[in-house]
Symmetry: C2
Subunit: 188 residues, 2 copies
DNA sequence: GAGCGTCTTGGACAGTTGCCCAAGACGTTA
DNA sequence: TAACGTCTTGGGCAACTGTCCAAGACGCTC
């Protein structure tokens, strides 16, 4: 019953999602158009509405999928780090990987904003972020940090904020931030 | 030579700017249209292009003006606070005033993103944020905080990040954050 | 009153958008 | 071979966009 076609269709769907991810960052959520995505994916314009009910649906699937992958990967790497200092270093390295103008940074920020206007997206994203914060708090607690819950909240927020600020001033000295952050985590 | 008309025109210009501010937050930077702004300002659609060269020009003027006012006001209030604890309290109070879904939060986030794509806006915004960070670092230094420069960077980023995160989870416990933040600022 | 400068009006224009759909392509099944 | 399921094509449509502009309104000067 056309099994090969189904497989090919699934590949097309995936290509649309992969094409949408950088476009969200480059052009902005509202500026991504069906024709834009289709062209970058190398397919006819009509394909988008065959695989997705609407452009918004495509953007939600693309942004949530990408964000989930990023957070999962990062949480996994953190779990492998034994000490607070090594973990903080990993955290800052992650921030320095994004200059606030790269597609990943922009996609995350665009997704936050879109979430404020699309309830379904907000719910999915909130769950993702809450999971990540829980994981971070658990890691902090295991490594003997003070106030792991609150510290995880500040850390998570600081990472997102730093990525935003780095877009305005790429010369921000991230290495210097390890000391105050470390200071926040130590017990009295 | 039509002085009354000039005054009235200036008032119209201001009304356009005031109408644009909440619209940027509500609809998103790219989704703000000339007709939308004109309608909310209570003027004919054509007026926008009489007072501004383009929609983008209007949005830049509106967002930069609003952001400058907000940062100035906050910096002034902070300067009046004598101690670290009182200042931190004021900082968290400012965050709690924004739930991440209010027009002000959204406008700031939208402006950050638009700045990544509009060089002129990025330059203006970068200057605003750098000024604010300098002021914050100065206040921290005066109040005997450790590592004032780096701490100001983390604090500024954390504020923006927290506002973003509060949009996803309004129940975030901000009061609990005072302790780790205070801990970050204390000298060894 | 006439003339002038400034601002305002409402519609025109070409371009772009999301979404839809008839027609066709292609492997699979009978 | 013929029929079928799935995916793909390319163009059509109404709605909306930024921008422009001729015409008019209003207060002011002479």
């Amino acid at each position: 019953m056309g099994e090969a076609a189904a497989i090919r269709g699934e590949a097309t769907r995936r290509r649309l999602l992969e094409a949408a991810v950088p476009l969200i960052g480059e052009a902005g959520w509202h500026a991504v158009t069906t024709r834009m995505v289709a062209q970058r994916a190398g397919v006819a314009p009509g394909v988008v509405h065959y695989h997705f009910a609407s452009v918004t649906d495509l953007l939600i699937a693309a942004s949530v999928g990408f964000t989930r992958g990023m957070l999962d990967r990062f949480a996994r790497e953190l779990a492998e780090r034994p000490g607070l200092d090594a973990g903080l270093g990993r955290l800052l390295a992650e921030v320095s990987r994004h200059d606030g103008a790269d597609p990943a940074s922009l996609l995350v920020a665009e997704t936050y904003l879109a979430a404020s206007r699309i309830p379904r997206l907000r719910d999915e994203l909130a769950e993702l972020v809450a999971d990540f914060r829980r994981g971070l708090a658990g890691w902090l607690a295991e490594n003997g940090a003070a106030d792991p819950e609150a510290a995880a909240t500040v850390l998570g927020a600081a990472v997102d904020g730093l990525i935003l600020h780095r877009g305005l001033d790429p010369r921000l000295d991230l290495a210097a931030l390890a000391r105050p952050l470390r200071s926040m985590l130590r017990k009295e």
